[in-house]
Amino acid sequence: MQAAQANRLREGGRIDRSRPLKFSLNGKAYTGFAGDTLASALIANGVGLVERSFKLRRPRGIFGSGAEEPNVIVQVGEGAEAQPGLPATRVELRDGLIAHTARGWPSVRFDIGAINDLFGRILGAGFYYKTFMYPRSWWKYYESAIRRSTGFGRAPAASDPDAYEHRNAHCDVLVAGGGPAGLMAALVAAKSGARVILADDGTEFGGSLLACGEDVAGAPAADWIAGIVAELGEQPDCVLLPRGAVLGYHDHDFLTIAERCDSGEPVERGLHPPVRERLWRIRAKRVILAQGGFERPLAFCNNDRPGVMLASAVSTYIHRYAVLPGRRAVVFTNNDSAYRTALDLAVAGAAVAAIVDSRPGGGGELAIRARDLGIPVLQGRVVCDVTGRHRVKGVSVAEWSGDSWENISKTAHFDCDLLAVSGGWSPAVHLHSQAGGQLDWSEAQLCFLPSRARQCHDSAGAGNGKQSLGDCLIDGLRAGTEAVAKLGLTPIAIEAPDAGSAREAPIEALWRVPAEKEADRCLKQFIDFQNDTTVADIRLAVREGYRNVEHVKRYTALGFGTDQGKLGNINGMAVLADVLGKTIPEVGTTTFRPVYTPVRFGTVAGESVGALYDPVRQTALHEWHEAVGAPMEVVGQWHRPWYFPRDGEDLHTAVARECLAVRNSVGAMDASTLGKIDARGPDVVKFLERIYTHNVGRMKVGRCAYGIMLGEDGMVMDDGVMARLGENHFYLTTTTGGAAGVLNWLESWLQTEWPELEVYLTSLTEHFSTIALAGPNSRNLLEKLGCDIPLDRESFPFLTVRAANLAGMPVQLFRVSFSGELAFEINIGSHLALQMWRKVMDAGREFDIIAYGTETMHVLRAEKGFIIVGQETDGSVTPVDLGMNWLLSKEKDFLGKRSLARPDCLREDRKQLVGLLSSDQRTVLPEGTQLIEQTACGVLETRPVPMCGHVTSSYFSPSLGHPIALALVAGGRARKGDNVFAALPGREPLPVEVVSPAFYDPKGERQNV
């Protein structure tokens, strides 16, 4: 049992010792301090073994200190607030924090799944696919068992109680990364007058400066950072976003940043919970990428044991969090940077047993300092194995010949509880690559460096391959100055502050340490810790024929974890290159895609949840419909009344009542959602002749017509009534769903094809509300309302339009019918519509008027065989298929006409619109039912069953007393009287008779009275 925070240093660090915080991991209580991450607090408490690995269930501890952490992925919070998949290194500690690891059953220390580790040799890449193939039908059982044992946490079952938001922003210069280079770049840009946004994933700015003991401008780094941040804060147009992870660099310099707004304090959620996370959507003129670099591990046997850590992480824990991750350390490196960690350890009070440097010539200036402190430095040596299972106990060291595949033998052993490793540094080129920038391999620095940019970005600092602090500061200043100049501003002159730099010896290419026995014993040499991808897996993939890095990635799962290969990708590519006998640039990198770090679904969704998920469009009469309790049907974004139940009626009963009321007296419907377009101009007739299939020019002023529009492919695109209001003035209506699209489409013809036509189109969809009055008493109702024009059949015949004053209000009255009854449509300004509707309902009481909804409208039109575009049509139906030849003018060209003469459109076995009657007089066929050919005795003649069509609309007809359906049937018009069969789930196919689609009043006499 460790004492509380036994590994905490007495002084230093960016933590607040006056603010102790309680937290728990897997139910066990600990304390840490404000300023800690969950990872640093766990190390402070001496928790070494924290998690089990994904596949092999090997014991794992904290390996890194930031976004690269592969091992300790926790679930934070409980219940609805729980958030899975977070690396402990990015979880800010707060009081009462509850965290759980994803694996380890019954406990992390004793995990039953650890038996997998014993079978590591057979659990190689592709194991699951190869092993659980047979018998094939059993995969569904295998899969559920395998799935249960994987994953990084559990998705909460309840909906997220937190609030999220989006924020759009524009800036001249976006600086991603607030380390030494980023701060310098932001400073020069902001002081030169640019609008700057500076974002950093960390809780405070400073980046690597927070994790080193160096001075800047002769003062402790922290003081210098505070000064710069304060200066930036004073600039008028500088936005500082700490806790802001730049997630993606998208097209045209559009970047997304997830800003964690959570203060860590408990919150009262109430009606308006505070924003937990904000997604910034930024359009930048210039972007400076200064996200630093990631240290690489080295591949040797058991390189994943708890107690093996990145050297830079060890330094970070010491300097930033005042935590000493080990008492007796070995440092293993192929470059100079890890010497700094050895010095940090020694200064913090740890014993450094040895620095194992693979380079025969050893390190530069830092190596001299290490020797001065009495640290043994072994050159030309490598760590080849690690002892200890739940915690590093010691390391084996061997001589290194420079050949990765030649067996080596151990020459020394060092006891230690911490192994700090460094395999060199890779600049964080992710955003540069997302933006389409190229990468160049540097043989001197052994890393990919950002080269040619595709968008308006530049890289700076460690992200640009700069290694010393001084170089990073200078490079940040350069990038900021250049960005300002490119914006056309005058950069102000700033000098880079003094900072230490040490002469360094070059890095050595060491990607994989040979094993002690046979060269193939690389099963425990981990490349991608999170996915348990080993050197052996990559070798296996190559042996099985994989050559392309993208394929090897997918076969071995290299780089697929929550860290997205930040730790292991370059090592993996280097090993692959080695195995293939190629160079690293020849092998190349896998594709970098957003997002850079994991992001909450809530952040992606922003405000668009619940009532704001999608706009609800309401008609001007919505208030009335709601007051009478009409259920709504969602049509596009519109909410339309579906039916108007009385006294607890269900849909069926209400619709039957509404239908009969319209057929027998009068009903009113809100038809306001139809698209409406005012079309005028000297060339409007010429234009509409090309758009509609009928002869528009022959329409007299005051006439209406049913018109259809075809796509150039000859298929029905939209339909609606259109009216001629004046010589050069038309009023067009479209379907509800087609309103916006049709207007854009008409404009496209006017603007891109026929600019010589002088025609103006204006949408009146929102301006006009439409009240449809249908039924034999509709004329009487209008008369009762008080109308200033004669309404008799001769003065106001079917398919005409009149401007009128109705009930004291100006309206356009259309005599059109979508029900087959005598009917009128009142078009009235939406600001007056509710008033008119109320008057209609009042005056209609004498005629027992009813309001009817979309369902009754559908039944009434189906009884007449009237189509609905999008229901009877699906983009593959011509007007001929629908029996609308009468609408197709022979005297003129119109859009789509030529296509109707293509051989496929002339086939006689095309699906054609027909009516269907169920033979049992009872069954309402489900819409979408497939129609099949079958003999009367039910024996299928051929297989597969010949299919001949499908049901497009189907209702029970209250007026006729039996079900009716519209359908598209191959060669249907010639098959009237035939039986086809409806394939019904769980039933014998039902014979249905092919009939005319006009079920009710086929001669159309009722609408003409």
Binding site: A620, H622, G681, Y760, E766, H831
Partner: protein, 175 residues
């Protein structure tokens, strides 16, 4: 303006009794433009994304399209006068009063609230008084105008989306 206040320093409300006319006109037909200006008593703005104010506000919607905002009571008379003045010049004038609702959003945080749902750069030098733009706000299309006073914007929204938009604004103003 009926007002609502919120956690942010911002107030939103509906501008009552606004009427709207849509005007389509070829800007190259100088005579017609002059005739319209004579009736309106003010210039028809020919510069993209600007509006003119006087007795009415005349917003540029497109190179041959304007929205005239005026008192609801004056719409019919203004429409008739414009129609007469423009007769024979193939212009189109439509009363669209039923189609729009004007909202005003005022306050130090108005720009921040709008930025939650609008991709325009609303920074004052870019979007200053006299500027207007048809654009997106949340999931709707609006006409946005920077008013004469600082931190004040007019939103002209399609009527059917108004309820959604007011909810969205209220929500955005609470954060």
């Amino acid at each position: 303006m009926s007002e609502s206040t919120s956690r942010r320093h911002v107030e939103t409300g509906v501008l009552e009794n606004r009427g709207f006319l849509n005007l389509r006109l070829d800007p190259h037909k100088e005579k017609a433009v002059k005739a319209a200006e004579q009736i309106l008593g003010q210039a028809v703005p020919l510069v993209s994304n600007t509006y003119g104010s006087g007795e009415h506000r005349v917003y540029w919607l497109g190179p041959d399209e304007w929205l005239i905002e005026t008192d609801a009571g004056d719409v019919v008379a203004l429409e008739n006068e414009l129609a007469m003045a423009l007769a024979g010049s193939s212009a189109a004038i439509n009363d669209v009063s039923g189609g729009y609702v004007a909202l005003r959003i005022v306050g130090a945080d108005a720009r921040t609230v709008l930025a939650k749902g609008c991709t325009l750069d609303l920074h004052p030098p870019e979007f200053r008084p006299g500027r207007c733009a048809r654009t997106r706000l949340a999931r709707t299309t609006i006409l946005l105008a920077a008013d004469g006073e600082p931190d004040s914007y007019t939103i002209i929204a399609a009527r059917s989306f108004t309820d959604y938009l007011r909810r969205w604004l209220a929500h955005a103003a609470e954060k």
